[in-house]
């Protein structure tokens, strides 16, 4: 009896957003070539708004149909920054500063490594990295109590 893996599967036309990477990048010749340009253009506008009005923003990459090749093109266009942050909270999240100041590539994965969300955040520092006021206050109180108790 032949196994599932023995059944030959031919990718006739890889369509953007179908969920699996193109083997050998064959699907990239078609796809939405203009997508990368559009994203970069929007990032430019958002960065200007951040610089002049201080308003942060984000682009949800999961909602945009992109082939693997376009994703690589986008990464290449944005480049790498100086900061790479790994956050372990219900799985691993990676927050990498890109070469464009103010643009952060955020990937949230769950405990099984499955991608939950992917964003390009336009901000000084992603809010995700910061702590909330109440958390800081609670930590302060805990430390004060500990110091008073220990001395």
């Amino acid at each position: 009896m032949s196994r599932l893996a023995d059944i030959p599967v031919r990718v006739e036309a890889a369509v953007p957003g179908c969920g699996s990477a193109d083997p050998g990048g064959q699907g990239g010749s078609g796809g939405l070539g203009g997508g990368v340009t559009a994203i970069l253009s929007e990032l430019g506008e958002l960065l200007t708004r951040l610089a002049t009005q201080g308003e942060p923003a984000a682009i949800d990459l999961r909602s945009l149909p992109m082939t693997q090749l376009e994703r690589e093109r986008l990464r290449h266009a944005l480049g790498d920054g100086e900061v790479q942050a790994t956050v372990t909270a219900a799985g691993v999240s990676r927050i990498n500063e890109t070469g464009m100041a103010g643009v952060w590539w955020v990937e949230h994965r769950d405990a099984h490594g499955e991608l939950q969300a992917e964003l390009l955040e336009v901000c000084r520092v992603p809010e995700f990295l910061a702590r909330a006021q109440d958390e800081i206050a609670a930590a302060g109180q805990a430390l004060s109590r500990g110091a008073r108790g220990g001395s």
Partner: protein
């Protein structure tokens, strides 16, 4: 399952070892699925953290428990299970540890303490036949339990096709007189998350949006969230180019099937089915039926069990009651109609011939080889 009325969502999450950042991740993913703006996830998380845990009562009637299984056995439980840390699931007869009188007491107390504020989740259809005797728990019929629970509910979320549209119990011949929730309750906001079962992300995202904003999302004519049920599978199917080119798989193992061609001829109901399977997919985005080689069953649509064979293509005639195919019926019907037509034709010809004879006898004859009357 017990709930401290003062406990905030954030506190409950911390108690379960879920950090603020983990919760933000969860809400960000849900916001992305809900097609909300990217910042909405953070806002949702911060809002919810400061609110008391919303009370949820989950009632199950004529169901197979597939919907609850879809939710609890989801592929990435570390994220999906978080919904159970956000809400306070005060009653679910499948999941709760208590049973019998204790369980019913918990339900009654939760409904009384949170009257007007709790979210009622229902799966399974509601039978009304034999006075409702086809589904009872603790001596009470499903109809009574639903009506009672609906009175104090802020909103009702129907999970699955059975509670949304009646599902398999309502399918022909509907021996228990099963009805969807919306046929029994009409004075509460109802959200139908249909599917057999529904995609779990749809359930959690909708619940999350409702508990964080207090608003039901925009709904279609079947009361399903438009963001998930606004497009047909066909509209978003990655095999659509093959449909447009007319490349169809004819059997499940032919060359077309192996090449991933359109499954229209194998009975795919994608064009008339509204759901998010083609975009959100199943098992954490792994695949969906068409991607795995089987046509869509149309399981999120009302009456999908009675819309003909799952393997009959959409345009095929689907009059066959069990055991009788359309060709038999149409041949019988056509033959009967033709026989009737022949009788009428004979009668008409008889009348025409009489008329012809009278015309000839009275002397005014037609010029051509055929006398008057009906002709080409």
């Amino acid at each position: 399952m017990t709930r401290d009325t003062a406990e905030l969502v954030g506190e409950a999450l911390l108690r379960h070892g879920v950090s603020r950042r983990a919760f933000i991740k969860f809400c960000t993913a849900a916001a992305s699925a809900l097609a909300l703006p990217p910042g909405a996830g953070l806002a949702m998380a911060e809002q919810l953290r400061q609110r008391p845990r919303p009370s949820v009562v989950y009632l199950s009637f004529q169901e197979c428990t597939g919907c609850l299984e879809s939710l609890t056995r989801s592929f990435s439980p570390s994220i999906e299970q978080l919904i159970f840390d956000v809400i306070s699931l005060d009653y679910d007869d499948t999941l709760m540890a208590a049973a019998g009188e204790a369980a019913e007491a918990a339900r009654t107390k939760a409904m009384k303490d949170n009257f007007g504020k709790y979210v009622l989740i229902v799966d399974g259809s509601v039978p009304t036949g034999a006075g409702g005797a086809y589904c009872t728990a603790g001596g009470r019929t499903a109809v009574d339990m639903l009506r009672e629970a609906a009175q104090g509910a802020a909103a009702i979320v129907c999970v699955g096709t059975c509670s949304s549209f009646g599902g398999i119990p309502l399918a022909d011949p509907n021996p228990t007189s099963a009805w969807p929730v919306s046929a029994i309750v009409s004075d509460r906001p109802i959200v139908n998350i249909s599917g057999c079962p529904p995609i779990p992300e749809l359930i959690t995202a909708t619940l999350l949006q409702y508990v964080s904003t207090g608003q039901v999302p925009e709904l279609d004519s079947h009361l399903r969230p438009k963001v998930f049920f606004g497009n047909t599978i066909h509209d978003r199917c990655y095999r659509r180019p093959f449909y447009d080119q007319g490349k169809f798989a004819r059997t499940f193992d032919d060359e077309g099937a192996r090449s991933g061609w359109c499954l229209y001829e194998l009975g795919c109901k994608g064009p008339t089915t509204y759901n998010a399977c083609a975009t959100v997919k199943w098992n954490g985005g792994t695949s969906f039926p068409i991607e795995s080689g089987h046509g869509c069953l149309g399981c999120s649509e009302p009456g999908f069990w009675d819309k003909g064979s799952f393997y009959a293509a959409l345009p095929e005639a689907s009059w066959g009651k069990a055991g009788r195919t359309a060709p038999h019926q149409v041949l019988e019907l056509g033959a009967a109609a033709a026989a009737a037509g022949a009788v009428l034709g004979l009668a008409a010809a008889g009348v025409s011939r009489l008329h012809q004879r009278h015309s000839e006898q009275s002397g005014d004859q037609g010029d051509g080889p055929q006398g008057g009357a009906t002709g080409g």
